[in-house]
């Protein structure tokens, strides 16, 4: 059994902890680095940046990804930008302010020490990316430009048109390919990790399935790093790329890694509303649009008029009305919930009455269409391609959709999980965003973890094992894990049910959205805890997976991923039910102020909930990591 969770946060004052810790950590000298094997699963921003940096340092690195190329991870789709406390705009930004905004934005449910470190290294990320050739937006004088983002009153977001994630990932990918060409990194694409292999209580490798040939392969190493992204696709409809899933993290959870705060999921306010049943995913319209677009709905219920026929007096700019200080730039959860409220009231717009307007007519009158086109042209084009409507003449329609998951595998200050030798980075860990992530902070965290944190902290773990070779893949633990994967494949293929994997995924998504979505309550969560297992039982009995295991078989790939999402969904419900408070993205209807704002319970819930797997059919055990706030005073968030 685990005792109380110790995040191993170094002593000392907030602003010197990281520097002091780096100094006190044990180092692996350059010659010895090549005696260590490190597996990095995932080649998104976090994985690619870490693998490239570890390769440069001289470690023997193996990168595993189910994508066909490391250039394609979900990170590529990030649009808006990346935060950094450069204060290039001289508008009063600082490391402390970025730290403060992130802690407050996360509704005081993140660790101070981690967040401060994140803000500290944020500035190095911009330098690194620029040196790699990432074409950030520039001003006419040739210096870097910034924009502001939801939840901040300074301009600290660096961006590359509406394609910041793409450009940052291509930068990390190019650094990674340089190491692949140099022979320090071995790259395995189309390899899906399906088991974590443990020996003597430590992570010693993984087992993968080759998605083209079906071959099941063991990989051993001194340490395993997961950078496998978030679990937003548990909702089926989300802004995540279609292939995103929780499998890598979940399989590690089943081997003992604690899963923290699964109920902290983020709904993004500005997505294109769903248009029909066949909808396969939702598309995000970057939040940066809220800088210039004004959000409104008609004042009257079921107002059938076209938007331009509705005079200002008949419009409700509900965010500006309720939050005069921040207006349309309130944090994501606040913006999302307010949109849900007006749609639930029957004031939604569009053919299905499932959206709110995001209107650029004012900004275009003020700055001219050309300026708006230069800032958001590609987003406007994308909107038109999807909806067939021209946002230069008709206001966009938007509605919240699942976008990001703050929960993930529990890690300590060094990004190591409770399983020695298993490190977790990027969206896959739970660490820095508390109950709500601020815009433009995921790219920052993924790259901070990958470039500037893990490459240091992993040495501190490895130095204990100098001279020990990695466990051979001929050891029985590997054979057992391979067998488990093989059995799993045959099991899916032999069910012979009647409905597709996607069918069940879609049904699961509906339950999760209805009961564990933007607003939760006890009755709904209890329903989730009975309906999800019932559907899961049917899934395992009635799913139809055709074909064989020794070819490219996409239904077979998805079968295991959806099975893991089912188990995760149940844990999300349990976590949400236990957390009797509202905080950030977790809004419990029972816990709100009289004007409908989230109400925290700091006396009872200023902690991380980290769940321990107890085997199939037995609920997980909840452990706590108490959060200590020594530098920031806990206040009720107010964006009024």
């Amino acid at each position: 059994m685990l005792g109380s969770l110790d995040a191993r946060i170094p002593a000392g004052s907030l602003d010197t902890k990281w520097t002091d810790h780096k100094f006190s950590m044990r180092l692996v000298n350059p010659n010895n680095k090549r005696r260590f094997d490190i597996i990095v699963v995932g080649s998104g921003l976090a994985g690619a940046s870490a693998a490239a940096s570890l390769g440069e340092l001289g470690y023997r690195v193996k990168v595993l990804t189910y994508h066909d190329s490391p250039r394609r991870a979900h990170s590529i789709a990030a649009q808006g930008g990346i935060n950094a406390a450069k204060n290039y705009q001289n508008d009063g930004d600082s490391v402390y302010r970025l730290f403060y905004d992130t802690i407050k934005g996360g509704d005081y449910r993140a660790r101070e020490a981690n967040v401060y470190r994140l803000a500290e290294v944020s500035v190095d990320i911009i330098d690194q990316a620029t040196a790699q050739g990432v074409p950030f937006a520039r001003e006419y004088g040739g210096l870097l430009d910034n924009r502001s983002f939801g939840g901040a009153q300074v301009s600290r977001t660096f961006y590359a048109r509406g394609q910041t994630g793409q450009q940052l990932l291509l930068g990390a990918y190019s650094a990674l390919m340089r190491q692949v060409a140099a022979g320090t990194v071995e790259l395995h694409t189309r390899s899906e990790m399906l088991e974590l292999v443990m020996h003597d209580g430590r992570a010693v490798g993984v087992v993968t399935r080759d998605l083209i040939t079906g071959e099941i392969v063991s990989h051993s190493a001194h340490a395993v790093v997961l950078a496998t992204g978030g679990y937003g696709n548990v909702y089926f409809l989300s802004t995540n790329a279609k292939m995103c899933n929780v499998t890598a993290a979940w399989r590690a959870h089943r081997k003992g890694a604690l899963f923290a705060n699964p109920c902290y999921t983020q709904i993004h306010p500005t997505c294109i509303p769903a248009s029909d049943d066949f909808q396969s995913k939702l598309t995000l319209m970057s939040e940066s649009l809220r800088n210039d677009g004004r959000i409104w709905v008609p004042l009257a219920h079921d107002d059938g008029r076209a938007p331009h026929e509705i005079p200002d007096a008949d419009r409700d700019y509900f965010l500006e009305r309720k939050y005069p200080a921040f207006g349309n730039l309130v944090p994501r959860d606040v913006a999302s919930r307010n949109a849900k409220t007006v749609v639930d009231e029957g004031r939604g717009v569009g053919p299905l009455r499932n959206g709110v307007y995001l209107d650029f007519s004012g900004a275009m009158a003020r700055d001219g269409e050309a300026v708006i086109r230069a800032k958001y042209g590609n987003l406007f084009d994308m909107y038109e391609r999807i909806t067939g409507e021209d946002p230069y003449t008709v206001p966009m329609r938007i509605y919240p959709a699942t976008h990001y998951t703050m929960g993930g595998l529990w890690v300590d200050y060094e990004l190591m999980s409770n399983v020695p030798g298993l490190f977790v980075m990027g969206e896959a860990n739970f660490s820095d965003h508390g109950a709500n992530r601020l815009g433009a902070s995921a790219l920052m965290q993924g790259l901070a973890d990958g470039y500037f944190i893990l490459p240091y902290t992993i040495g501190n773990y490895l130095s204990d094992y100098l001279g020990d070779p990695a466990l051979g893949t001929s050891e029985p633990v590997f054979a057992d894990a391979e067998q488990a994967v093989a059995n799993e494949m045959s099991r899916w293929l032999s069910i012979g049910g009647t409905r597709s994997v996607d069918h069940y995924h879609r049904e699961l998504g509906k339950l999760v959205w209805d009961y564990i979505g933007m607003a939760r309550n006890k009755t709904g969560l209890e329903k989730a805890l009975s309906e999800i297992p019932a559907l899961r039982e049917e899934y395992h009995r009635n799913v139809r997976v055709l074909g064989s295991a020794d070819t490219l078989n996409q239904s077979l790939e998805k079968a295991g991923r959806v099975a893991d999402l089912f188990e995760l969904a149940e844990l999300m419900a349990r976590d949400a039910l236990t957390r009797e408070e509202s905080c950030g993205g977790h809004f419990r209807e029972e816990h709100q102020t009289t004007d409908g704002e989230a109400m925290r319970d700091d006396d009872n819930f200023t902690h991380v909930a980290a769940w321990e797997w107890n085997g199939e059919g037995t609920p997980q055990t909840r452990h706590r990591e108490e959060l200590e706030f020594e530098n920031v005073e806990l206040t009720q968030r107010s964006y009024k």
Binding site: Q132, P135, V180, M243
Partner: protein, 255 residues
């Protein structure tokens, strides 16, 4: 306005890399014009599974036109009829009731078919590995504002950097050259001050690696037409110019 249309699809089916492939015809009835092209294939696949047939393998990830995973030959056009649009962003409102649609994978020797509509594009990663980077180790970078970059330069570099690595340019090229893809990456880096130190080595290595895997470019211009990101073919001309210079410079530097 959304409507429902009936289509006849002729789809390339191939069981594996070394299997023989063939076209199979499917009726796709009652497809909403609001569906995307890939959602139309999702619907067809769902019906195939219900009928006990293996679904059509095709690849996609972001479904937002940014990751470059998708890519189909649609009636002989890479990514289909809509200009500047990746397959996943194409919507069925571009088609009419009764249309026949031929759907094939990318066809190029260096993109072997893996199954049905999925191909292996690893050769493109090899081109990047040959020099598509700026050698700067983590932690070695100077302050980002130390080197101002004229806005025009940064913008042009960005136009090149926008390539999504989908391979449509290769599929559309009569010689199966990857010249537009290669030139886009060469110019993205060659244009920036940060990329100058390795400009000549990069150009030579990337162009020659491209030619080792793919056909040679003879300026047909089909690539620009097919490119979902509308990468301008000018980058190819600039790369050719840099390549000639590189051949001279690299010899001098070596000598």
């Amino acid at each position: 306005m959304s409507a429902e249309i009936n289509l006849t699809l002729k789809v390339w089916r191939q069981a594996g890399p070394s299997a023989e492939g063939r076209f199979v015809t499917y009726e796709a009835d009652g497809i909403s014009t609001d569906a995307s092209f890939l959602e139309m294939l999702d619907i067809v696949n769902e019906r195939l599974i219900e009928a006990g047939d293996e679904p059509i393998v095709f690849e996609s990830d972001c479904r937002e036109g940014i990751c470059g995973t998708c890519g189909l030959m649609i009636n002989g056009q890479a990514h289909g009829p809509q200009k500047g649009t990746a397959t996943c962003q194409l919507h069925m409102r571009s088609f009419s009731d009764g249309d026949h649609i031929v759907i094939e994978p990318w066809r190029a020797t260096s993109f072997p078919v893996l199954r049905d509509l999925a191909v292996d594009r690893r050769a493109m990663d090899a081109i990047i590995g040959a020099g598509g980077y700026i050698s700067v180790n983590t932690g070695a970078a100077p302050d980002a504002n130390l080197t101002p970059v004229p806005k025009e330069t940064a913008d042009t570099a960005f136009d090149a950097a926008a390539c999504i690595g989908c391979g449509a340019c290769v599929a559309a090229c009569p010689n199966s050259a990857a010249q537009l893809f290669t030139a886009a990456k060469v110019q993205h880096l060659n244009l920036l001050p940060q990329g100058q130190a390795q400009r000549w080595a990069r150009t030579e290595a990337m162009v020659e690696t491209m030619e080792a895997f793919f056909g040679s470019c003879t300026n047909h211009g089909e690539c620009e037409e097919a490119c979902p990101k509308e990468i301008p073919i000018d980058f190819i001309a600039w790369t050719n110019r840099d390549y000639i210079k590189a051949k001279v410079k690299n010899r001098k530097l070596a000598g």
